[in-house]
């Protein structure tokens, strides 16, 4: 996890913005699951400009309910993946999602005006009220992860829809696994 982030260049066409979504499978961040961010809460968010540049630092932008951030190379933008999946009856944040969550965390720290809603969901199995509780657990896990990365909890709202808002119909594991999720929704 390097210290200098999002510095520099901007203005890239819409096409690259769309492509970025696919191109952003970066290698996993090394290090422990929840490493304290060196910038921590309370430090300055706006970095000083890169020397020799008059331009404003590139900032994350909200598009619809998703977030677009400058790539680490500074060569373009990428749209952050906003859906994180869970195992059955579990609320543990999977390691596979850590690197993407870290990007959300950095963006949320860099712009304290950003607000997110974490929407927790469950698959259809089991009872509806228990699934509401499970969905909330999952969203709380994502919140705990982001807060541990230094995001202010005041930027985060948690809400659970249980099994009431599936993305896929279908009564088998392939559908269920897509419905057990937390969606990060920017506002």
């Amino acid at each position: 996890m390097g210290t200098p982030k999002m510095r520099g260049v901007l203005v890239i066409g819409l096409a690259s913005l769309l492509l970025a979504g696919c191109a952003s499978n970066e290698p996993e961040d090394s290090g422990p699951e929840i490493s304290p961010d060196t910038d921590g809460p309370g430090t300055m968010v706006e970095k000083p400009m890169a020397s020799g540049s008059d331009k404003q630092e590139a900032k994350p932008m909200v598009k619809g309910d998703k977030l677009v951030i400058p790539t680490s190379s500074g060569m373009g933008y990428e749209m952050l993946q906003g859906i994180f999946y869970f195992d059955f009856d579990q609320a543990i944040v999977k390691r596979a999602g850590h690197s993407e969550l870290n990007k959300h965390a950095r963006a949320l720290q860099s712009d304290r005006m950003l607000r997110v809603r974490l929407e927790g969901h469950a698959d259809e199995r089991g009872t509806r009220e228990y699934n509401l509780a499970l969905g909330e657990r999952r969203a709380n896990s994502i919140r705990a992860y982001l807060v541990a990365q230094g995001v202010s909890s005041s930027q985060i709202e948690v809400i659970s829809y249980g099994e009431e808002k599936p993305v896929v119909e279908g009564h088998s594991e392939s559908g269920w696994s897509q419905n057990r999720r937390v969606e990060i929704v920017y506002r």
Binding site: T127, E129, L132, A133, V167
Partner: protein
């Protein structure tokens, strides 16, 4: 668009869209044979056969009776003196229901008789009076009386079912909270919204209902709606969960689930003083409260032991003990009103079924054979329970008798149907008049 909410309370008088249809999937091996002769309209020529149609359909759909079609009948008596027992014995009919209807101003007077063909005796005769628009109610009353005389179990045909429907594609759904007669007819829409509705619950008086609706800002809130006054009140909309409302047996309190203190706990809410008390204190998930009949304890679902199981809490001292031990998923329990057992969702080999736990013998019996069964709700006569399941990829309601002998499905013409709640009271009660 968020606020696009329509609150309606209307009755569709005739058979209409949204009604449920009962299909018996398993009846008794030896149903009792009952003939219902179309009641005679005295003095006014033939009127509608609604009443007798209702009785016929109720008895047939109960899965316990076989009825006789009008065409088969050798005679059509309306009074005791016209009954030829021989005619009915030939058809192997065991019981006969006959009667007359008389218009009396705005009222309708119905006199009916139940005959035992085998013993050639009059088992029951009574006269009831109702409004002109209450023919269906009077029919359900007759069915209830006949059912009780013949089975010893109080009838539940005059009761109602509340349920939630979800219509439309996943990203554009309309949710409705409906109430229909127990035979699926006369659907009333209590609430219509674009956001989820869940956990509908009846007050013991049958006049109020509580439910969870996400209509406001897409967030959950608990409401209590008065069905007659057509008013409603928001009870809670705290940060986090606001769920699983359940009226206490005396109707003065609501048990509910809030997670405002960090994790889901059971709370009680006094409907008069609006005082709230947190009654479970555990970092696990505590949800789905259901009151015991005496109101002194609450059973609930908790994952405090690792997997969801049923626990019982004594309100006096908040002492908690575990109730279920069989299986790794037991949830959404409701206690039978005589305290003899509880019905719940039970998982076995990855299949979710409705089960009955006999609390005296500690025996668990699985009552349903489909998968993804949930939301069991017991009829006030304790002989049937209704639940939600999946059929051909669609959410439907189904019912099963507590002894497992009778089963039926209640498919709907539109969308997914779920979360049934059987009303504790009859829609209309008729007191026989003396003649």
């Amino acid at each position: 668009m968020r606020y696009c909410l329509i609150l309606i309370l209307c009755v569709y008088a005739s058979a209409s869209i949204g009604e449920l249809r009962i299909e018996v999937t398993q009846g008794l091996d030896k149903p009792v044979h009952v003939a219902v002769v179309p009641f005679n309209w005295r003095g006014w020529g033939r009127g509608s056969d609604t009443l007798t149609d209702v009785v016929n359909s109720d008895l047939q759909l109960s899965g316990r009776f076989k009825t006789t079609s009008v065409e088969q009948m050798l005679s059509r008596p309306h009074r005791a003196k016209d009954v030829l027992y021989r005619d009915w014995r030939l058809l192997k009919v065991e019981y006969l229901v006959i009667g007359e209807i008389r218009r009396d101003g705005d009222n309708i007077e119905v006199t009916y008789e139940l005959h035992n063909i085998v013993t050639k005796t009059l088992e029951h005769k009574e006269t009831i009076v109702g409004g002109r628009d209450e023919l269906r109610d009077m029919g359900h009353h007759v069915s209830d009386v006949v059912f009780e005389k013949l089975t010893g179990i109080e009838g539940a045909f005059a009761t109602r079912i509340m349920y939630v429907t979800a219509v439309g594609p996943l990203n554009d759904r309309t949710f409705r909270l409906n109430i229909a007669d127990a035979d699926g007819h006369r659907v009333e829409t209590v609430l219509e919204t674009r956001e989820p509705i869940l956990s509908p619950a009846w007050a013991p008086d049958g006049n109020r209902v509580a439910y969870v609706s996400f209509e406001k800002d897409s967030k959950p809130a608990i409401y209590i709606q008065d069905l007659q006054a057509k008013t409603r009140r928001m009870i809670t909309n705290f940060q986090g969960l606001n769920g699983a409302p359940a009226f206490s047996p005396d109707g003065t309190k609501l048990a509910l689930v809030l997670s405002k203190s960090g994790n889901p706990d059971i709370w009680t809410y006094d409907l008069k003083t609006r005082a709230m008390a947190k009654v479970t204190r555990h970092y696990g998930i505590d949800t789905e409260p259901s009151w015991s009949a005496d109101g002194k304890s609450i059973v609930f679902t908790s994952n405090r032991g690792g997997s969801p199981q049923i626990y019982k809490m004594r309100l006096r001292d908040l002492n908690v003990e575990r109730v279920t031990f069989e299986g790794d998923y037991n949830a959404r329990a409701s206690v039978l009103s005589d305290g003899s057992g509880l019905v719940m969702v039970h998982r076995r080999n990855d299949i979710y079924n409705i089960s009955l736990l006999d609390l005296k013998r500690g025996r668990l019996s699985v009552l349903t054979q489909t998968s993804l069964d949930e939301s069991p709700s017991i009829a006030p006569n304790r002989s049937m329970l209704i639940y939600a399941t999946q059929h051909a990829g669609q959410g439907i309601l189904a019912a099963v008798s507590i002894d497992g002998g009778v089963k039926f499905n209640l498919p709907s013409s539109e969308g997914d149907v779920r979360e049934p709640a059987w009303s504790p009271k009859k829609r209309k009660v008729f007191t026989p008049i003396s003649k």
